[in-house]
Subunit: 151 residues, 2 copies
């Protein structure tokens, strides 16, 4: 079992909390000055939401922050961020993103890097397994979440 840091542990705990609620198991936390200032998970199922991906939920739960806070924060997420969450990271100028895995879904990491964001991908086995089982059991829900046509 790899040694994952406290913040990725909290991020995975968020994903598991979402799964326990019957939701899509993706979690995220926003860290500033060594402290979690926002945490969240995907709420598509729980709140019928089209915009509350894990990262968006963490940003929303962090509340209104000055630009200087975002500019010195790190966003953790269990899964490679989609275009929407990538756009939110760019809007707020968050300089660093730590990603649990990008094996089950490759988000807009290239765009993040192109815009100067530091991107670290852990390929954490627990994150991969969480999504792999979820997608296998719920392919339609997963496709809906990433805007893909149903098969």
């Amino acid at each position: 079992m790899p040694n994952i840091d406290t913040f990725m542990r909290a991020t995975i705990d968020e994903a598991r909390a979402g799964l326990a609620e019957g939701g899509i198991p993706i979690g995220s936390v926003l860290v500033h000055d060594g402290r979690i200032i926002g945490r969240g998970h995907n709420r598509r199922v729980q709140q019928g939401s089209a915009i509350l991906h894990g990262e968006m939920d963490a940003l929303e739960n962090a509340g209104r922050q000055p630009a200087s806070v975002y500019a010195s924060s790190t966003l953790y997420t269990t899964l490679s961020p989609c275009a929407m969450c990538t756009g939110a990271i760019l809007l707020y100028g968050i300089p660093r993103v730590v990603i649990g895995e990008n094996r089950t879904f490759m988000g807009e990491e290239a765009l993040l890097r192109e815009r100067g964001v530091e991107v670290e991908v852990l390929q954490d086995p627990e994150c991969i397994e969480l999504m792999r089982s979820f997608i296998a059991a719920n392919p339609e829900l997963w496709n809906e979440d990433i805007g893909k046509e149903q098969h």
Copy 2:
């Protein structure tokens, strides 16, 4: 079949509703099959929200939709979409965006076009005046909304 002006009128009405609530005057509507299926406005002030820009609010109010609906929808917005709202448009594969104006803020229109989204900018005088007066009176709130450092 209602013409384009009907939808931009509804979009501006949303912006004005936001202003009347003490909020940032940016509105948006999502149109599918000649009908508005979601409408909204910026709710940063009203709900203390970091993610409810006008476009995000319209998407959220449209509820969970299948990919085929987004793929044949048009998003109207009074102002050029920021990186976050642009990302949401790309996530859901919305093929067309009608923008009230980009004089007071230039969003990620180049990225939208690069990804094949049809972008139409009206440079509507009413949209420009709404934002111009608002920004002049509330520069700090506006900078917060677009992730910019305060002066």
